[in-house]
Symmetry: C2
Subunit: 684 residues, 2 copies
């Protein structure tokens, strides 16, 4: 029997859990008429967005599939071509379905959490956490099921070599990354368009509270929290996860390692990680007492602990041999440890209880500019421990693998897997955040009273630490994943040495390094442009709908949802196209080695900008909350106004550009790995 067949079993188990959780959430009550009404609007808005996103995605996927099919067909025959197309579309489809189901479940959980909060903390925590875990379990389960089934068919049924099978399965990863790109960039633009516009007109111009039902953008804002944070973060992590698994398989099937156990081991590591996540998720819910934050942390740490035990078992007894198993086990653990370090650092630099956010709050007293300069600076300083963590993990993985006779790049690949294997638990914890955040919003809009809002507040606050940790995890994991893909690319392009003293490679590095900041800038400008359209519409409604300000008339929520949707899809095109085209142009103009330089450059600045933007954004957010909690004059003070400006700058940093970069650099690496070997064959 092939041991890696535990992988589809893990995938199935995860899906079963998702179905069970979904039934649990569905059974809960949605509360008052008003709550149902709000929930219905959010649901419709989310559906409208997803429908448009998925239609565009489908068109995009078909074009890419055609290109891929033709290239594969020309180089490796029609059968391979068809197989690649199937894998590609299957990758897009699996992740798109899981994202759709997960997001709809989260939307449902919003209102049900709010309602459960009327009966107490414990019940509402369960609903919120399960609502988030549906996304986590379904997207990881479906992905792992998809990868392992495809590999099984090509490798075991059709009898291809491990290398050929892994290569075609890479198209699955490429398909998943297309969804991630759209979900992350599009969702990111959407959510911040709605958020900033709603705030600027509502809070700043008219002085009405956040989440006020009179604000025409309030539903779009709620929808945005779901499409941006739930679907977006899920897509981001799953994209790295799939790439890490398949990248490791490709390196494992390279001539130096020779396939066999090395190809299937990544699948098994992913499987045991998923089992650990399933148990951890159940444990988190069971262990809730007074503090939801502690429950989430217990869930996370127990998952890590279980994973290490399982990892020991499969590396020790999978047939690697007594002399070599440590060469896989140790790098994987190093990766997991680095992930924790990065996560905890992120927490330090963004937490409301720590000195950076509080100093930014203090700087707000001198005005918006000083607040922004301070937050920006701390955002930059926060990259230092993460870069050191990633560097340490890279060196440790490389030399530990080498010490036990494992090909060093395989060590890097398993380190990335180590970080990402518990992604089921990570996404679950992460999706809990926006669910409880939205529950709070609904509780406010539906006027459920102080006491209920306070409970949802507690739920929301608990999500913050875990959210910071998981965000750090996502960036660290993306870093090691793209290093893995970099290894896979050099393997596939036949590059054995990459001399930084060659001008084409230097120029490749320069151009690659330019891409992440450029894409960030384009995404931020998109939010600005889209926001302008939205602001004009909100102002129009307040002017033209009589009685709106007095609460006697209803705003046209749907119109705002529509503007945000259309704008987001339109605006994501340029950055996405650049992420695909520029690597290929670099390769054509300057050669395959320059493209490797390009990837290296993009990884370096990609990580720096992603960390800087995510952390400064998080710190600005919490600096504002710190002032709102009463410091430096509290709400309404000049310091608060300055902090709001900082938070607004941070919004597209942390929720649009920053997280999109992970996906962008993954996509650029995948473009290189998927297309270049084919182009090389065609040119030969």
């Amino acid at each position: 029997m092939e041991w890696y067949l535990i992988t589809p079993v893990a995938g199935l188990a995860s899906l079963v859990l998702a179905v069970y959780l979904h039934r649990y959430v569905s059974k809960q009550d949605s509360g008052t008429e008003k709550m149902r009404e709000i929930a219905q609007s959010i649901k419709e808005g989310a559906k409208a967005y997803l429908r448009r996103q998925n239609m565009t995605l489908a068109a995009f996927a078909l074009i890419m599939a055609t290109v891929l099919g033709v290239l594969f067909g020309l180089t490796e025959g029609v059968f391979h071509g068809v197989s690649a197309v199937v894998a590609y579309l299957f990758g897009s489809l699996c992740t798109a379905i899981a994202a759709y189901v997960g997001m709809m479940a989260a939307v449902e959980a919003n209102v049900k959490t709010a309602n459960a909060a009327r009966t107490g903390l414990k019940k509402s925590f369960s609903v919120a956490f399960y609502g988030g875990a549906i996304m986590g379990m379904s997207i990881v389960g479906l992905s792992l099921l998809g990868i392992s089934l495809l590999f099984f068919i090509y490798y075991n049924v059709l009898g291809w070599t491990a290398a050929a099978a892994s290569n075609v399965v890479l198209a699955f990863s490429f398909g998943a990354s297309a969804l991630a790109l759209f979900a992350k960039a599009g969702g990111g633009i959407y959510t911040k368009t709605a958020d900033i516009s709603a705030d600027l007109v509502g809070k700043v111009e008219l002085g009405i509270p956040e989440d006020d039902p009179r604000n025409p953008a309030v539903i779009a804002d709620n929808v945005g929290d779901n499409v941006g944070d739930v679907a977006g973060m899920g897509a981001d992590l799953i994209d790295s996860y799939i790439a890490a698994v398949i990248g490791a398989m490709i390196i494992g099937s390279a001539p130096l390692l020779g396939g066999g156990i090395y190809t299937t081991l990544p699948l098994m590591i992913a499987a045991v990680g998923l089992f650990a996540s399933i148990i951890g998720a159940i444990f988190a819910q069971v262990s809730i007492k007074a503090s939801p934050g502690a429950a989430l942390n217990r869930g996370l740490f127990s998952t890590c602990f279980l994973f290490i035990i399982f990892l020991f078992l499969i590396t020790r007894f999978s047939g690697l041999g007594e002399d070599k198993w440590l060469g896989v086990f140790l790098p994987t653990v190093a990766g997991l440890a680095a992930g924790m370090v990065i996560g905890l650092t992120t927490d330090y630099f963004t937490s409301i209880d720590r000195s950076p956010a509080q100093r930014i709050a203090g700087a707000s007293v001198s005005g918006a500019a000083i607040n922004i300069l301070t937050g920006f600076s701390y955002g930059i300083i926060s990259i230092v421990p993460s870069i050191i963590g990633i560097s340490a993990a890279t060196l440790a993985a490389w030399y530990l693998a080498d010490m036990f006779g494992i090909y060093p790049f395989y060590g890097i690949a398993t380190a990335a897997l180590g970080m990402l294997s518990i992604v089921g638990m990570i996404i679950s914890t992460d999706a809990y955040g926006p669910v409880s955040d939205n529950a709070k919003g609904i509780a406010e809009q539906a006027g459920l009273g102080e006491e209920v809002v306070e409970i949802t507040d507690k739920l929301d606050a608990a999500g913050n630490t875990s959210k910071a940790i998981t965000k750090g995890f996502a960036i660290g994991a993306a870093a090691l994943t793209v290093l893995t893909l970099f290894g896979a690319y050099t393997e596939l392009a036949g590059i054995s040495s990459l001399n930084l003293m060659q001008p084409k490679i230097v120029v490749g590095v320069f151009v690659g390094a330019m891409m992440p900041p450029l894409l960030s800038a384009l995404l931020i400008l998109s939010v600005g442009r889209n926001g302008e359209r939205m602001i004009a519409e909100i102002r129009r409604q307040f002017k033209e709908i009589p009685g709106l300000m007095e609460g006697k008339a209803k705003p046209d929520y749907a119109r705002c949802v529509d503007i945000a949707t259309k704008g987001a899809i339109k605006e994501l095109m340029l950055p996405c196209v650049l992420a695909i085209i520029v690597p290929l142009v670099t390769m054509v103009v300057l050669g395959v080695e320059a493209l490797a330089g390009f990837l290296a450059g993009s990884i370096v600045t990609g990580i720096i900008f992603a960390l800087m933007m995510a952390n400064s954004g998080g710190a600005w957010d919490n600096a504002k909350k710190y002032i709102e909690a009463g410091a430096h004059g509290g709400k309404g003070s000049e310091a608060h106004k300055a902090a709001v400006a900082g938070d607004t700058v941070g919004d597209p940093f942390k929720d649009t550009a920053g997280p999109s970069l992970n996906t962008m650099i993954t996509v650029m690496s995948l473009v290189a790995s998927v297309f270049v070997p084919l182009i090389l064959v065609l040119l030969a």
Copy 2:
């Protein structure tokens, strides 16, 4: 006769011109009693700052000289040790003296320009331009004289090999970079501390105009313009210039090229560039008619034109041979052309007449946050043409050199020289900016009336385009210079290939790439911290000095000058020490190749952050000016307030962190090139 002896001649000629210009400026009248009083305060403040800076610099230089002397002494004997110490201290001394003289002349020219403006545009332009040119001519002249004399002594008099002589002369460059580091980082912190504090309390809190004599920080602000912009920019460019010349000499004396003409040619190229600058500077003043901007541009372009002719003559007839001269001529011209492209791009992205600044102004209508997001994004986008320009110059220089049988890294080195050879003219044009800016300030403070202020306004505006171009030049030149130094380092450390697929090198790249953003953040936080002290002092004076607000009492200017001075010197320590220590730690922990990776990483993000910060800062500044000129409600509108916030964010970006990065990456490269060969010998 050695042809390179035209170099000390050029240096002397430049110094003679500087003396002549200084006599011209000195002869001018300083105007009314009030003007003299203001000028005296600025002069005293500038002296106080320079005294403290130079004392700290002296201590720093003595420590470094001791380290250098011991290392050189241990590895190459006492005589070499003493020679290196002499070269190092001579480098610090030459640049420090020139910076002192140049800055004092600029301070003198401030008030005399203001006074000359009472008689008309033409005269005042001459005074301002000559006042700036004193800095340009004296610092370039003295540097070139110093380098060529040292080389003459070691090479011709003592009969060392070209390689040994160049190596010791590198200590001159290292000494100059110490001054640059202090002048740039310290001056940058000083000027923005004063500027932001004066604005925040004066303009924002109390609503009194800019440059109002009641503001206790107004003299510190004026001093800051001189120490930050005149001395700082001069030091920045001279630092790159010296490094480019000596870096090219080192590569030229490497075994592959074998010294001789290849070692001395960089000196000759620098010499003809200086001759061209001298003629261009005279031409600029002679050709002034109605528009000072046109005169500056004519000066700049005629310098370029003359330089190319001179360059042709010396490369064609210097003994390189008919087959090879194009391999030096063409890369040098390519460098100059790339410098122009970068400069013009900078102008596009920052000019008040172009779409980026105007769009940022438009975004100000939606508040400070949107203004900042838009400016930040355009700042990032502005790096694209520059990166492409640098890339094109790198490739062109490499392959053009190679095509004609010249060692390719020598081509890169001469391209850097091509950009920097006309630095005499560049610094002159650049220093004109703050001189005319300050003349305007003095005209306002001394109440010289609308008409005079208008003339100084015109002078000031003319400086803006040239200033943008020269800033772009400085960054582009720094990029090619550090590539040259990268080449010199690999040469000196004996590295012939640098494989990016080795983990230590990857980690080196990561750590190096982290440094420029980290140093930027530290410098920005320094400005914030120092600004807080200053703001407290300004508030205290307004509270405790009776009649100050009514204009009946005089503020204590000296106290503010003192706070800015002490703070700037104190705050520059950490970033400077990191720039020296981290490369050495990297080398010790990870090896010489990792340090090469470190340098490569620092070059990449150094250029990106330097361009991004300089250009976004410039664009914010002009967006504010565009609104002040009447757009979007003009002065006092909400849009204006937002634009002021953006400008305040941009201040430390463009005047502290951005320009310091050039120097920081040069210093890191020099640390590597100077120390590593010695450490390697010691370890061997």
